[in-house]
Symmetry: C2
Amino acid sequence: MLQVEEKSIEMQRTAKQASKVLRVESMQKDIVRVEYAVRGEIAIRAEELRKQLSVSPNSLPFTRITNCNIGNPQQLAQRPITFFRQVAALVDYPDLLRSESDLFKPDARERAAKYLAAIGSAGAYSHSQGVPIVRREVADFIEKRDGFAADPENIFLTAGASPAVQLVLNSLISHPKVGIMIPIPQYPLYTASIALFNGTAVPYYLDEAKNWGLSKEELARSLAKARSEGVEVRALCIINPGNPTGQCLSLENMNEVVEFCKKENIVLLADEVYQTNIYKPAERPFHSFKKVVKSKGPEYDNFELISFHSVSKGMVGECGRRGGYFECTNIDPEVMAQFYKIASISLCPPVHGQLMVGLMTNPPKEGDASYPEYRKEMDDIYQSLVRRSNTLAKALNKLEGVSCNEAEGAMYLFPTITLPRKAVEAAKALGKQPDDMYCMELLNETGVCVVPGSGFWQKEGTWHFRSTFLAPENQMGEFAESLARFHEKFMNKYR
Amino acid sequence: MLQVEEKSIEMQRTAKQASKVLRVESMQKDIVRVEYAVRGEIAIRAEELRKQLSVSPNSLPFTRITNCNIGNPQQLAQRPITFFRQVAALVDYPDLLRSESDLFKPDARERAAKYLAAIGSAGAYSHSQGVPIVRREVADFIEKRDGFAADPENIFLTAGASPAVQLVLNSLISHPKVGIMIPIPQYPLYTASIALFNGTAVPYYLDEAKNWGLSKEELARSLAKARSEGVEVRALCIINPGNPTGQCLSLENMNEVVEFCKKENIVLLADEVYQTNIYKPAERPFHSFKKVVKSKGPEYDNFELISFHSVSKGMVGECGRRGGYFECTNIDPEVMAQFYKIASISLCPPVHGQLMVGLMTNPPKEGDASYPEYRKEMDDIYQSLVRRSNTLAKALNKLEGVSCNEAEGAMYLFPTITLPRKAVEAAKALGKQPDDMYCMELLNETGVCVVPGSGFWQKEGTWHFRSTFLAPENQMGEFAESLARFHEKFMNKYR
């Protein structure tokens, strides 16, 4: 009886859904096709477990969820930079400028007053391309970083790097056979956006054995294969430092990439959001692609490059602000006018995100009242990232069948895991990828949330996961231990 | 010689552009096709004039640009609500919570502490659908407003209403013959987005003679015409209160709309961002479509409605924060899961925008320490908007050939202008719409920037412009006078 009733409810439900206008079956296909693993099944399960813990704290074999699935430093207790937040608070509530509070140093007051004079209020829409004086700050930062001129008119402030990458990919993909070369493994923003705009992802593989190195032979192979399939390759995406793979490109390698793009008439998209997360600065310092292109002289004056940066990463970690920029190098001004038009439909990027871009690119300088504190906060976060990255890499490399390159940059480790055949078969029986199953079991048993390698794409027959090394330093020991315990149990279960 | 040189430079330029990969000709066509008038040619010209004034203040027949082209209250000196900004500043810089500053009332401190406990830091990514406690505040607000339950799981926080409308339209438009019914005149977000997603705009006309009223006969005519052309009409957009037209729908009219959508199996999209800009509350109070649908009983339990709101309008006017929400009523949960997935690619809406949504929907209440100040600030802004709206309507109605409905709601007047035949011919000779020409001359001679009616679409052979009534009250007299002087001169010139 109960069964019959349930069935009837189910049928009613189905009939009700079927009569709807807006259904998954009738929705825009490209939207439905998109996959986005960083916030996929495992992240949703983590959210459920978090809710369960908040209701009944003792109902699970762990007491908290550790979100290592996403580069979200301030979620994991990284403190914001004081100067940045002081300026933000003063801009929010200008009465503080008129108060005598000794909480605020004079340079913070000056900067807030300067921003207020330029924008009027943080509650006003700004120029759709971004506040002009912030674009000037960005241009100055780029000039200083690279030694080559930068023009504020070529800079677009955005709500983080993700919508910026999406705008550019949307513009490039004019038919389904437009190809965008992406590294494998990649940050899933790229595969998701290419699917959303109905283009073709053209994978080139990074070489795990060579610390996730990039070879020009592999670029050539990838391009030739795509072209042989009738794909019109228009752009090459590089993530440097790499996400999820953490490598930094050598100058030599970057020159090869630029020469490749020039020869093949391909736009270079440089995702450089981790440019200050550089952990081996002597061997592998950061170089921008802008600098590499400009260094090559007038022959490259027509070389099309778009570079992305963000306030969400680095030691700034202001993800929730949604701030970023992209710089256009040798992009047709008429195309930039189109970018502007599309940006203007959403009116403007969040003003607080824009100001954070200004603060990140124009921080306190030696001699400024806030400089010592700023310097110390940046250095402390940086040193802690180095330590945590090393601790986690060591812990991972101790696990049976796990091997992990050290991070040269970014915020992630991407260990390879060699799984027993029985685990692979068990996953298959569940209709899952083996690393999906591994990560789901890890979450259910330890509360640690990482992203399976399948979400980033990977060489067939290899399995990985991506973990940030952002967990608070005092939790790193516990984190490594519970990972080791889980891993041993998992391996024994499927041996 | 000079000419030859110029030509050669021009040819070089053209060759250089032509060799680029990313060109307007090769870009995604839908992007290129989009028109967006609010920030179009006239807004760009206004920006140029503003720059000119900052360099040489006496070089033009006016001393400042008055931006009446966009509903951007705080750009025009509307002050933000103190309580909102206090909470924002405390969240930005929590050290202020520990300070003894008497600038902050206890309820502002409490609210900031509550938000901080929930989000950790304004610098952390939040849940992609929005901070759960803010969604709870929104649901409570809706319940109180309408008298019907609201579920936080059906609410998505967004970076303002514009990206929310875009996400929904993108989902609905699965092929080029999907039709979206839009009012004419409309806010160009709609035509721009429908073009961007390659759907079909299905216009229904508002009746200017009946104070921009909406008739069910016109809806039926519009739908029948679209269907006869093979268009699959999936959604009806209503902007209430109207933009650019400022009317408020009667309850009777809203019931007709809902009945129409049910009968015709059409999703209703209710743009209600001006719901507190209500200037004739006795005759034309605001009713939400959610309430109207819920009032109609169980027969409407499957009625698909999506409602939009924003922190940018009302007396809040926090445009630069980029905050808003949409509420799904009877939308298939699987479709909402798709919305969530797409939202998650951009990680999360700006956290400060989200908190502003919480503050707007859950402001200080009677008895709270900040209530008297909050109440006074809201009332002052409201009363001033009423006065400015009346002043501007009166001034416009005095002009020869100009006729203007009073605003029942929103922030705009949309006068009709009857132009001399010679003006129409002069515009034609310039390849422009007559109201484009009128608005450009108005800008060049007075510094007042309004948007031509053509940007909103309008009944053929009629001409309008949209002006906000947000100019500061002490400038309204001067504004009206220079408008009158310009108009007389223009009419005489083309008589």
